[in-house]
Subunit: 204 residues, 2 copies
């Protein structure tokens, strides 16, 4: 909140300022900059507020559904930076600087009052894809991939990441993902809002 | 909160300060009000921006894991209003006006490049719990429960909801949920941030 105390003589200027402030000061300012920041070694720094970004989807692919040996025995939740999401809602495109982070968790089998299921387990790694037509001019879709694993014998995670080699991640994204290398087929939050701005179920 | 006092002589500086303040005063204002609004029939109106709130967790409890008949054969994602989440980060408590919304989806079985799994299917209903010590003075934990199902023969959802009868939802929440009737045991986003403000994996 911004509190402004106006004196009589500055009333008009003050009102104008307030108006400007109130327009700019929206929750989901479209012009929120990309959170992507690199260190001097050209490593992408993990933003430490991504759980407050927009969750675009979660899914789980456990061993039990894959003959005991899933290619990725995990649960995952994908977050998109808020500025990029505002752009997506308006244009249906991933803007330059779009950062998607995937929290990779163990698929924890639980038994509760409402039956058995899978819920979030321990985090194994955070993985990211960043779109930048200059920085990744030669990469498929101009996406660069990054990964922040849990450190050995530690509770802590790697906090910066070099770009992963081309092909390490992008292969599956090129061949399987529905929209600009993002698996939007699993993310109604994205498909519903694409160019429409709808961020809830539809009502009359 | 940012407090700015303008006088005649400092008009320009003031405008600049206001502009700066409006940029700095980002998305996560601690004093964001509760989104809970009631109509004249005392029905809670479904907020139409909840997919931009904080996702606190997702889980799935499909028939296949429950002898073919799960009590709730569904996938769900739970969202918490942003103001309440700021309060939670600071105090570890659910403030008056905290609104949690659960999007209830079919558990869609998919087969992708990375194996088989469950992802978000069609939305069946949105369900909510609202904490209010005055409005729900006699309810367990002062939580009131609400539900917005998909309408029959329609793509649309109910947009307002009367309070559900006590016991219809609260029974399981009283006996099974870990923290003030919320199933925080499945939501690392909440347990990690409780009173600490941590909204990412820990790094050094």
């Amino acid at each position: 909140m911004i509190k402004i105390i106006c004196s009589q003589s500055t009333k008009l200027a003050c009102l104008l300022a307030l108006l400007t402030a109130s327009v700019l000061n929206t929750t989901y300012a479209e012009d929120l900059p990309s959170p992507a920041k690199f260190n001097t070694d050209n490593e992408l720094i993990l933003p430490l507020n991504y759980r407050e970004w927009v969750q675009v989807g979660s899914n789980v692919s456990p061993n039990e559904l894959n003959n005991g040996k899933a290619p990725f025995n995990e649960m995952r939740t994908i977050y998109m930076d808020r500025g990029a999401f505002q752009h997506w809602k308006k244009t249906g495109k991933f803007r330059k600087g779009t950062l998607l982070l995937k929290e990779v968790m163990s698929a924890e089998r639980y038994k509760g009052l409402t039956g058995s299921g899978y819920a979030a387990g321990d985090v194994v790694a955070v993985a990211g894809m960043l779109k930048d037509s200059e920085k990744f001019a030669n990469e498929p879709g101009n996406w660069g991939f990054f990964r922040y694993p849990k450190l050995d014998n530690s509770e802590l995670f790697q906090k910066t990441s070099k770009q992963f080699p081309t092909g390490k991640c992008s292969g599956c994204h090129v061949s399987g993902a529905q929209d600009d290398m993002v698996f939007t087929q699993h993310y109604p939050v994205l498909t519903d809002s694409k160019g429409t701005g709808r961020v809830a179920v539809p009502v009359e």
